[in-house]
Symmetry: C2
Subunit: 232 residues, 2 copies
Amino acid sequence: MRYAVLGTGTVGRTIAGKLAALGHDVVIGTRDPQATMARTEPDAMGNPPFAQWAQHHPEVSVAPLADAAAGAETVVNATSGAAALEALAQAGAAHLAGKILVDVANPLDFSRGMPPSLDPVNTDSLGEQIQRAHPEAKVVKALNTMNSAVMVDPARVAGEHHVFVSGNDEDAKKTVTALLVSFGWPAQSVIDLGDITTARGTEMLLPIWLRLMGALGHTDFNFHIQGARAQD
Amino acid sequence: MRYAVLGTGTVGRTIAGKLAALGHDVVIGTRDPQATMARTEPDAMGNPPFAQWAQHHPEVSVAPLADAAAGAETVVNATSGAAALEALAQAGAAHLAGKILVDVANPLDFSRGMPPSLDPVNTDSLGEQIQRAHPEAKVVKALNTMNSAVMVDPARVAGEHHVFVSGNDEDAKKTVTALLVSFGWPAQSVIDLGDITTARGTEMLLPIWLRLMGALGHTDFNFHIQGARAQD
């Protein structure tokens, strides 16, 4: 499968690396590949410069957003939430139409201080905004409720825990569920919450996730819905 | 211990019944006890009329909000979120000052259709609003993240799962933790998230809780933070 992963931060790198390790063709999309590759300083989050990561992942190519999306069968939005709509507009509606668009971003708003708040929130979500902006894409919100290391290696957290999917297209959710299983998520750990409006609920997990990170002092944790098994 | 439980809905009844069963003195506070006792129809949520419950719980008395709060050592806010600030104002700041005020309410806003949204949300919380309105009370947000039956009988959900406490007063949180243990919560199932601003995170669990109720078809579930044990 040919994947485009949009975003060069930790989440984008982690997902791109995992997809490549699973044997997929992976292109990372970024606004300006030349500028991205030229950076020699750690990014705002303290990650090593992208070029350093790219050097160790020669199997992952880098391309402008539109080129990356155009060549892909499935697109993963791993941009920062605040940049997502603009990045997807640059990727191009025509290049997203008919494709599964896995949205793993959270609309964190750092403008009002720490900890970040969410924008949009409550009566809207980033997942819904993306679906409205790209009605012909099959948006599936997933993997936005845990640290990126856990996204692609759920066994980092011992015991059962869950990953949620939200989206309007049932087949797209099934395909994304299969992708999650290939990442190491047991099939029964995937909870389908319903349509894309349920992304409000998963994005609104971020505030407690951030507080738990503070209280626990690490990021190798995840939400488990105890009692969910009664649905089986 | 003398408790006032403010609110005559399912949550108030359930907590009052549990406290009484544990041997505490319990008064339920309501705006107009005479009107509450006179109702013969199920309430808006379909619960049987309060008088019917009261008849089966003669050990729990009913009083106006101010009288209930005045006579109590600890107050539990189990009103509907939208009514909480007004009910606590009626209870009286002087009757809350210096006391632990356990806030189990969620600020659900049904005015914009179903599922309900939250108001306040994101950059504020009901827990914080209550603490600001009653600076001399020791507000501890707790038990607002699960069905009321699970609040007082956590063993209804098999396996480990968590209850969160948020508040500015460390001793008050310790006292509430002991209360939770008396309800059946193992001590290690109580996660102290930090000050009262962390109530934003627990109140923002409601949207996914409501969607999970829909997806699972029952309410005997709860959040478990898998990996939290690494803090031990």
